[in-house]
């Protein structure tokens, strides 16, 4: 039983790490500000979700009321991030638009 829990938890954590890595690489590699927000906004959110899920699975080692409440509390973070992260992303994009930042497009690339 413990082995299974550990394997699941580890798998989720690794998945989260991969998501985070993807987000980070995306932030580095993407050509402009707008496209950078895509990996930053999405992959990080899912990364948090996967990692917290993994940690919650790990919590099953010591099942008790306190632990269950703790797990719910950890999911509260996820809930919060799911609500806040897209909004933050949206806010940043909006700021970029209002600040007059031109989006990068394929045509521009060809021209230059």
């Amino acid at each position: 039983m413990h082995i299974i829990i550990n394997i699941f938890a580890g798998a989720f954590l690794l998945m989260g790490l991969v998501f985070f890595l993807g987000g980070a690489v995306g932030i580095m590699r993407m050509p402009d500000f707008y496209s950078r927000l895509h990996p930053a906004g999405k992959l990080d959110t899912l990364g948090i979700f996967a990692m917290v899920a993994g940690l919650v699975i790990y919590n099953f080692h010591h099942l008790s009321v306190a632990m269950v409440l703790l797990s719910i509390k950890m999911f509260l973070i996820v809930f919060f991030v799911f609500l806040a992260s897209p909004t933050a992303t949206h806010s940043i994009v909006d700021a970029g638009m209002r600040a007059g930042l031109r989006p990068w497009t394929r045509k521009k690339e060809k021209e230059s």
Partner: protein, 274 residues
């Protein structure tokens, strides 16, 4: 100036490097700092105060006198921002919007009075409509942040946190309201008078608890002496006293954070902001 700065930095850095040579290693459990007072605190706090969070116990009880002044410092900062920035004079340039038509009016003459109401709305120069999505999300989040802040205040005894942190989070939830709606919405909800009274009251709760202990025959801030007043387990009286103190700190800090933010962001006019 750059050269002078560089010289001073080098001198100070050299002094610090020299002084650090003799310090015990990082994380050494046998260093004097970790043995003399800290041992006493760690071993005796739980039985003396029944508070598991040692930091809160030392903060609010053993060194409660410090914390009282810390709260006074916060109050002082709020008052300072009010004193330095608050500007009651009417503004020269004002902007109004005629609500039915959406026309913006720019009023330069301070004599002309337009009463904001159903027809006209007071506007900022750099007014933008508050974003719908942000507004909705913040509307949902703010109550949760607030309950969380109150939770942090109340659970300072068991988990990290306490009055100060809770107060700051509560204050930032109000700041979030000012950011997502606009400053006037916030100032309509929590008026300036309310905030300043809260700031003073918070510290007075702290001082008042201490004086109450003095009246009951103990030293200043000696919460143990409050036991006859509270129909509760007398063993927990110190923990209860700390809770009361934390609430006071939380109230004061919450009010002061909002005061500082509002005054800075509107240059003391309390009309427009971020």
């Amino acid at each position: 100036m750059k050269f002078l700065g560089f010289v001073i930095v080098c001198l100070t850095g050299g002094l610090l490097l020299y002084g650090t040579m003799d310090l015990p290693d990082w994380g050494d459990p046998a260093s004097p700092a970790s043995t003399h007072l800290s041992d006493y605190y760690i071993e005796h706090i739980l039985e003396e105060t029944r508070v598991p969070n040692l930091v809160t116990a030392v903060l609010a009880d053993y060194r409660g006198y410090d914390t009282m002044f810390e709260t006074a410092v916060v109050f002082c900062a709020g008052l300072a921002c009010f004193l330095l920035l608050r500007d009651f004079r009417p503004k020269k340039d004002r902007y109004f919007r005629h609500i039915p038509t959406g026309v913006m009016l720019h009023v330069k003459n301070p004599e002309i009075r337009i009463i904001p109401g159903n027809e006209f709305e007071h506007m900022d120069r750099e007014w933008v409509p508050s974003d719908r999505i942000i507004k909705t999300v913040c509307r949902i989040l703010i109550p949760f942040i607030q309950i969380y802040a109150l939770y942090v205040v109340a659970h300072g005894d068991f988990s990290p946190g306490g009055g100060f942190q809770g107060g700051v989070i509560f204050g930032s939830s109000l700041i979030l309201m000012a950011i997502s709606y606009n400053l006037k919405t916030l100032m309509k909800r929590v008026t300036e008078k309310f905030l300043s009274i809260f700031a003073a009251t918070g510290v007075l709760i702290y001082v008042g608890l201490g004086v109450l202990a003095m009246i009951m025959g103990g030293r200043f801030l000696d919460y143990g002496m409050l036991a006859p007043l509270v129909p509760w387990d007398p063993g927990h009286i110190r923990a209860l006293g700390m809770l009361g103190v934390e609430i006071g700190v939380g109230i004061a800090v919450m009010a002061v954070m909002v005061i500082i933010y509002v005054n800075i962001v509107s240059e003391g006019r309390h009309d427009e902001g971020l």
